[in-house]
Symmetry: C2
DNA sequence: TGCATTTATACACTCAATGTAGCGATGCAG
DNA sequence: CTGCATCGCTACATTGAGTGTATAAATGCA
């Protein structure tokens, strides 16, 4: 990585750090992009050079995470069912989130703000929708004979829908992080059991 | 309904009509709220008295539709499985959408704009998320012994996730409206089949 | 008829987001 | 090492969504 990229990465991190700190201190709505930029000693324009929207500063690592899931689906194992392949992909993404976002405190801030700030919630849901499309496409490519596009979308949508709904419910119940993760990973099976008549 | 409510309803409809027309003519982004209000001979401020956001003008009927689904879950029938109850609720909501939105052209405009305009998509997803929570809660109330909150959320999330993902995929495939509806109604069963290992 | 409530308006304002032009540092080819 | 192109950043101006406040007018009701 050249000097240029390294500097760019540092300013990006500075913006994330300043944003999370200010959101904690003053609340999301009461923090302006101008304040975030100023706290990172940068111009407002620079903020939007790194993030398309104010919400995106909280969802920085989502793109590579989806690619992780797509890659997992690409490595289909012999005799593996679509359900197991999806479970592997979901497991990889959840593990990545736990590993990378938890230490920085980004995960905590995001979890709290997604629950309270409609704008953040909307943006996350949008990201998840595009991720879901990418995963469905990858699943169909991995099982070209068993799945048509609509079926692949249905299965993927069901699995991810179960996972995210379970996460929200578990968090609302006040369960500790490891119980939340367990609920997420077990959700597709629970859903399949109940959905099968 | 008093004269007051009737008038309010008429201005609301005038705003929706003007918005849909202008979106068709000039595109979503290139249409401002001020233009919509002017076309309906109203002030900009009045627009936001009826709709919280610019996107909401396209999602006007979503709240009563969700209540329809919640009501359907409330009328649990003896011996009916959660899956069947959910299917009934989803069927009711889809039928309502077909009956009420198709004639006005609202459905067509919304479908097109959800596919192309990120802001509209984000807002719709957010609405669906809150709807999903309400439905999960209703399902849990209908099956207090069989389902805990997390399981109810997982099943509901899976069912609705399957339905909406199937809808998106079917539309992307260019299927005609009745095929899209069929794909939506069949999606939970397809997903359950593939998810069950 | 008089009073309270509700709907819509006018005006002023904040802030997210974009367009454009320019400056300085970095990377790279000769 | 030098000249040139590219890149990250800034300054400035602008658009447009969304909000707060005060107010007029219409409606419902006593």
């Amino acid at each position: 990585m050249g000097l240029r990229e390294a500097k760019k990465e540092r300013t990006r991190e500075a913006l994330v750090e300043a944003a999370v700190r200010l959101f904690e201190e003053n609340g999301y709505e009461r923090t302006t992009v101008a304040q975030i930029a100023a706290a990172a000693q940068l111009s407002t324009r620079t903020f939007f050079l790194h993030f398309a929207t104010k919400e995106d500063v909280l969802l920085a690592n989502s793109v590579p995470r989806v690619e992780l899931g797509v890659a997992a689906l690409g490595e289909r194992r012999s005799g593996e069912s679509p359900a197991r392949a999806l479970a592997r992909a979901i497991g990889a993404m959840v593990a990545d989130a736990s590993a990378k976002d938890l230490p920085t405190g980004l995960a905590a801030a995001r979890t709290r703000l997604v629950a309270t700030e409609p704008a953040v919630q909307a943006r996350l849901l949008q990201r998840m929708a595009t991720a879901q499309s990418a995963l469905a496409e990858a699943l169909r490519r991995a099982y070209p004979d068993e799945l048509d596009p609509v079926s692949a979308a249905a299965v993927t949508g069901a699995a991810l829908g179960a996972v995210s709904a379970a996460a929200v419910a578990a968090l609302r119940e006040g369960l500790p992080p490891e119980r939340v993760r367990a609920a997420m990973l077990g959700a597709p099976a629970v859903a399949a059991f109940h959905l099968a008549e």
